[in-house]
Amino acid sequence: MKRTGLWIRTGVILAITLIGIYLVFGPRRMPTSADFTWEGIKANLAANINLGLDLKGGSHLVMRVKLDDYLKTVTENNAQAALSAISDSTDPKFQVANSATVAENGNYSFNATLADGTNLDQVAEAVKKKVDLQNWNESRSGSTISWTLGAAAQNVMKVDAVTQAKKIIESRINTYGVKEPTIQNQGSPTSGQILLQMPGVDDPERVKSLIGAESNLALMKIVSAANPAPVTTYPTIDAAKASLGGTVPANRKILPYAERDEPTAAGQAPDQKKPTSYVVVEYPAVVDGSELRNAEAVSRTGAQGDYQITFQFKPSGAQKFGDWTGKNINNYMAVVLNDEVKSAAFIKSQIFDSGEISGKFTKQTAEDLALTLKSGALPAKIVYQEERTVGPSLGADSIRSGVEASLGGLALVILFMLFYYRGSGVNAVVALVLNMLLTIAALVLIRSTLTLPGIAGLILGIGMAVDSNVLIFERIREELKAGFDIPTSIDLGFDRAFVTIIDTHITTIISSVILYMAGGAGPIRGFAVTLILGLLINLFTAVFVSRTIFNWELSLRPKMTKMSI
């Protein structure tokens, strides 16, 4: 019973075709009668295919990195780090008598005046060992050492900060799932302006806050009596200061300690803070966010508002953290996020590579926080300067003419196939149309965003689909000419052309997979994805589907003496 096999093949083809039609034209909800009208189909098609920035447009955001803030923070941090490096020494010659920091109006410098000015070389050396002062000019006068950031160095640092901010923003929106944004400098490189365009996203406000989110994580030692005594907190800043003798030394910091409320009602964001208390921590931090390798939002119970963030350190951070926790068992440690203590706990045992930010986060805040932690901290705050939605960067009218020209080209191909291969041309046309339908369905399925490079991949895929059909048909013609009967010619034609088709397809798939892996997240990847899908599907449509149609023909007209090819 030869027909049974044919029916099974036909059933497989029909099922896959129906799934393809549903994926491309169907709604992602219970269908209504409106989904079967022309308008409904068009609306569903538009909703199912994600078009990229170049084809559909999206948001246009101009933001500015507050570079003055950045330089100010760098100056202050360096000043603090330098002073703590000096005061770490017990040598009486390292006694700091006075210090000052300037960080405004384009002047960035800090200095330390030592009580004993005879040992400046050694002091400067000690500072250099602990603090990276590569861009800073060191100068001395009397018993004072000053470090100043010159204008050229300021520009270098500004450009670096913008580049870093661009990278972090890109990684944040990529992780969030925005496909193929464009990020470019706007204005002079030292203006700190960044122009970001991204294709339509569901929740632009969330993306905006994600981009600008600060995520400075630090693990710091709390100045407190060790466990089992409870952690020492102070009700006010002044009380905390008083405990330090009235002034905060360079190696100490006072930070607010905000414990989180239990969620009061189901679904309510548990983000309100309890009346804040303060703790005193040691500066600099044991480890900071730059040492993070991974961060993840997890929930023990799965309940809304019961999320924590766990994180892992890179090897270098894990080493530092392990050494420190080993020496500080039963001491209190603070998990500090954006200069606010999120949790304080004593060290039970030596910990190496992981930690947790406890507190009761909602799922979304925890996920966003984990994402921003993973991408690293922005060098400074970001302010939005301009916001608009924009049309496609290729221009709506040129896309229309491009689509029309491509459809015209496709019609030309179909007409030629029907004219040149007659009856068999129908096979080719069915295979081609099915190939396009299924490739787009596959793109919908993997939620890929279609951009012009993706369309180029589609064109190459379709071109190779046409080629597969031509290879098969030309081969069948050759076998017919060589004197074989029709069934044998079809058999030989498919068998022989299949070897060629497999070789061409595997070659292109291999190179596309390499393109995908080495091409980074941009246009190259979009090209590779559509091409790989198109070729895999072509092996199905050009060989399996086309063969099935031929077999039907043979089975229905067994005594066929002349073949329409």
Binding site: Q184, G187, S188, A405, I459, L471, I510, A518
Partner: protein, 363 residues
Amino acid sequence: MLNPFDNFHFDWLRRRRIFIGISIAIMLAGLASAVGRELAPGGTDSFNMGVDFKGGTIVTAKFRNRPTDDEIRDALNKSGVGDPVIQTSTNRPDEVLIKIPLLEAETNPEGATDQDHTLQVQAGRAEVKKALDTFGQAAEGDATLDSAPNAAYKIIGTDSVGAIAGSQLRNQAVIATLLGLVGILVFIAFRYDWTYAAGAVIAVFHDVIMVLSFFSIFQWEVNLTVIAAILTIVGFSVNDSIVIFDRVRENVPMRRHDSLFEITNDSINQTLSRTVITAGLVILSVLALVVFGGEVLRSFSLALLVGLTLGTYSTIAIASPIAIWWQSKLGDSKIKDVLAPAAKGEKLASSSRRSVTRRPVTR
């Protein structure tokens, strides 16, 4: 049954020196254009890089009656600003964003000083203003469209923009493509022979260098879409080469007494109908895109047109001669191998899975 290629015979390989000569001539012209333009004082760059690659000026204009994108593009082209990117502002329909490439070829956007930027922005603004003045008067200074009833538009913002695709993306594209070619090389060597792999990959290089030559000689704009086009060209070129190699591989065991030279020539002719139909259809479709696809897709469609045409040509004119030439260099010591496998010609498909064996090359 239509078949215009029945019993077609043409001695392709005999004319290989002519083909290779033509290719080398075009590549030399491309090289001369690229180097000449770079070195000539006050000349243009080797390539006409678009906003995507080198940045430029972004001008935001607000219109009283907004012309279409095409009208704005035409106006800019007429006043000498090539290849603008025009983006509508969908939430403010009377405003339009116009990006034009850097005007002075010498300015390097990464290393430019603030002063360069100011000059650049002023020059860009002046250019755009000159073009937009064809739509009517501009509202200057503090005047708005409301306070100046005669004004047709107002430039509400100007700034310089950096490249979207910096050197990073360009390098990534080049490295990824080269790695992809290594993959192709290894696979063809595994399925056929190293000599064939080398022929196919050299043909790919030929195609890409030729396309770049055309872009340099005619100063077509290089933008992000050209990268996509080049990736497509590489794919088609390799595809074409494999189809012919596959036929050679099939013919070799059946024609043990013929030289590889003749077999390859015949293989090219046997597959010629397929080559002409496939290449013809694809090239015709791309030609439709060139003619009717509009200004913005021009770089993309031109690159495809040139590249796909050359891809077909290079398979015959470059890939096959190189494969054979290399075989002839290796040939002598391997002749014995040819006699070893006995050809079974009854069923074509089975005999062809054998790898290509080296055989003498005459001429």
